[in-house]
């Protein structure tokens, strides 16, 4: 039979971005081994089959031992991952069951397939998606055992800079290919939280998963581009595409060079105090800024910019929920495993959506933030459900804006529970342990933060609104803008109060706002002992550098002095802020 000739034109395929980076190389396609699925019968006797199986397991274990020697030198998640592969190979119950099947007359391949699938099916019955991804891991190991049984060689011939194309890879295969200096990985199935993906990320190997039929579509030797940021691959790219790609690679490498050494180091002060430096995301465009992948996560993802879509496209809440989910999910997947904190719509005040058709004489003190959300529960719940559905990967947290009373938090939690029940009833998945937090940006919330801390997992101080509502000045109003003063002792003492009360209850405290955009203000935040600081993407690198130059112990003493000062002028003079 003649094979269907492939169109050699360029082919763009969309998958899921699982490990960032760009790669270009020749494809090396790993076809799934096929074997006769009937009982093997007369070809070999059961004792011979059993010996084949035992030899294979030995060989596989030996490979893993070799990889462990390599990776143990580098502190790497690979160690515990390979260790668990070894435990699976050594599993006495699994071994016994396979042995039994072989004695019944099955070939080694069939016995492995049957027994592994039995355990895989048990795992697939678990409700929790993160747990279910283990099923892939079993599959990958099973495929590898069968591969060794069938070929006895492990792709020893794979050339350097290849792009590996496979149905899925086992963790040890990822380590193997890393040592073969491959350029990238494409798989048909898998999940961003599987061991193989964790390893690809830790090795910095660009990877795109979920390209269905990749091993059929791509042939060994094809030119392939991987865009691990977008989750796109291009098979046999045109000259033009290739030129564009080379430009992107150059931009990426220039960008990385411009970041310097600091970018790869953990965020910590000169004297070694660690904290999280995260990024605020205001618009979808900011999500294109590659700096976000070098941050410790997204400390505040604003969602207000989605509101106009609701009006423009005249959507009902249900389709708006779906649209929101797609956007939130994309952000969660691309940032995985880093934390993403989504803030519920903070509308009202200066950001009023046309479709609500409100007019207030004093919107800053009006129907805004959580008040508006609770006033439109169906609208609010649609967003909560979208957040919940995007939480399935385990890295999403949600946060509520403009809290002034404890009742608002209790009512919101009730709605969250309702949404969870609804999703459970529909059999839809989400992270049952999703963390829930609130913004502390009003003096009312600040002063009851010990009560609030009983109900939330984390809080985040919003400096702009906290300042405005404390000093009673609108920063956009020229007549009073000089009163808008984040260094007013009242604001600083309020922040100190919030942090102390929340930490006493074991609640993590973050800050998002513009306060960190000055070196000595940053030092003050460090001295106040925030767990995380979230800044705009453009300020990220500068702030990271400042933090690395700050000494926590000194900053703490400075803060103690600042908190005793009586005027903002004293504070500014002492901190040398103009």
């Amino acid at each position: 039979m003649s094979r269907i000739k492939k169109n050699k034109g360029e082919l763009v395929l969309n998958g899921i971005p699982s490990s960032v980076g760009y790669a270009f190389g020749k494809a090396f396609v790993i076809k799934k081994s096929t074997f006769n699925s009937k009982r093997n019968g007369l070809q070999r006797t059961p004792p011979e089959e059993l010996q084949r199986y035992l030899n294979t397991i030995d060989e596989y274990e030996n490979q893993i031992e070799n990889y462990l020697v390599i990776v143990e030198k580098e502190k790497n998640p690979a160690v515990s991952i390979l260790d668990s592969v070894r435990l699976i190979l050594r599993d006495p119950i699994l071994k016994d069951e396979i042995k039994e099947k072989i004695e019944e007359g099955y070939s080694a391949e069939n016995a492995v397939e049957l027994v592994f699938n039995k355990y895989k099916n048990t795992i697939l019955n678990i409700k929790n998606k993160l747990f279910r991804e283990r099923a892939y891991e079993l599959d990958q190991i099973k495929n590898q055992i069968i591969e060794i049984l069938q070929t006895k060689k492990l792709f020893a011939t794979v050339p350097e800079k290849s792009i590996i194309v496979a149905n899925s890879l086992s963790p040890d295969q990822v380590v193997f290919f890393k040592n073969k200096q491959i350029a990238g990985i494409i798989t048909e199935v898998g999940g961003i939280t599987t061991h193989s993906s964790i390893l690809a990320r830790s090795f910095g190997i660009p990877e795109v998963i979920g390209i269905g039929n990749a091993t059929e579509i791509v042939s060994t030797g094809d030119d392939v581009i991987i865009d691990g940021y977008k989750g796109v691959i291009v098979v046999n790219p045109s000259k033009r595409t290739l030129r564009e790609f080379e430009l992107k690679v150059k931009q990426e490498s220039d960008f990385k060079k411009s970041l310097g050494k600091l970018i790869n180091l953990p965020t910590q002060t000169k004297d070694g105090k660690s904290l999280q430096l995260q990024v605020n995301l205001n618009t979808k465009e900011e999500f294109e800024n590659p700096i976000i992948y070098h941050s410790d996560g997204l400390g505040l993802v604003r969602t207000e910019h989605l509101i106009p879509i609701l009006g423009n496209k005249n959507l009902n809440f249900e389709s708006f929920e779906e649209l929101q989910f797609e956007i939130y999910n994309e952000i969660a997947v691309k940032m995985y495993p880093k934390t993403v904190i989504f803030r519920a719509f903070d509308i009202g005040a200066d950001k009023f959506p046309s479709f609500f058709n409100f007019s207030e004489t004093n919107p800053m003190l009006g129907f805004r933030g959580i008040r508006l959300l609770l006033g439109k529960p169906e609208f609010f719940k649609a967003q909560i459900r979208a957040f919940l559905k995007a939480s399935v990967h385990g890295n999403v947290k949600i946060m509520l804006p403009m809290i002034t009373t404890l009742q608002e938090i209790k009512e919101s939690l009730k709605l969250v529970d309702e949404c969870k029940r609804e999703l459970n009833e529909k059999g839809l998945e989400f992270n049952q342990e999703l963390e829930f937090g609130v913004m502390i940006e009003t003096p009312a919330a600040a002063l009851i933060v010990d009560s609030i801390s009983k109900y939330v997992d984390f809080i985040s101080i919003g400096t702009n609104d906290l300042t405005q509502y404390t000093v009673v000045a609108d920063r956009d109003n020229n007549f009073v803008s000089k009163y808008f003063e984040p260094f007013h002792p009242a604001v600083l003492r309020l922040m100190k109060f919030i942090i102390d009360k929340a930490k006493k209850r074991g609640v993590k405290v973050g800050i998002c706002g513009e306060l960190a955009s000055h070196p000595s203000a940053t030092a003050m935040l460090i001295g106040l002992n925030f767990d995380s600081i979230s800044v705009s993407p453009t300020n990220f690198l500068q702030v990271k550098k400042w933090i690395s130059e700050i000494e926590y112990e000194k900053a703490r003493k400075k803060v103690a002095k600042v908190l005793k000062m009586e005027t903002n002028l004293d504070v500014r003079k002492y901190l040398e802020i103009d």
Binding site: S80, I81, D83, S84, L87, I88, D91, P92, I93, L94, F116, Y119, T122, I123, N125, I126, K127, N128, L130, F131, R134, E137, L138, H195, Q432, E433
Partner: protein
């Protein structure tokens, strides 16, 4: 036979690494050791068995051991759960 009920307290639940810890500890004992969740029972010396156990944070897990070192076996495994598998 010795039984003890424990709770999964680490936030990530009994994912692969904690399961591996359980297998390693259980394998040191001669007794037969089983973990039970909602009437579903698996051999504690089998990692693939444990991988099928839906033990998220908050799940109650019954440890059951039978054999010459059953007491010590149950206590050792209970300790792993109580320490949150060193993840908290």
């Amino acid at each position: 036979m010795v039984k003890k009920e424990v709770e999964v307290i680490n936030p990530a639940g009994m994912h692969t690494r904690p399961a591996a810890e359980v297998v390693k500890v259980a394998s040191r004992f001669k007794s037969k050791i089983f973990l039970e969740v909602d009437g579903f029972s698996v051999n504690a010396k089998s990692i693939v068995g444990l991988m099928g156990l839906p033990a998220v944070q908050g799940t109650r897990v019954k440890i059951v051991a039978e054999g010459i070192d059953e007491e010590e076996a149950v206590e050792s495994i209970a300790k792993l759960f109580e320490s949150g598998f060193d993840e908290i």
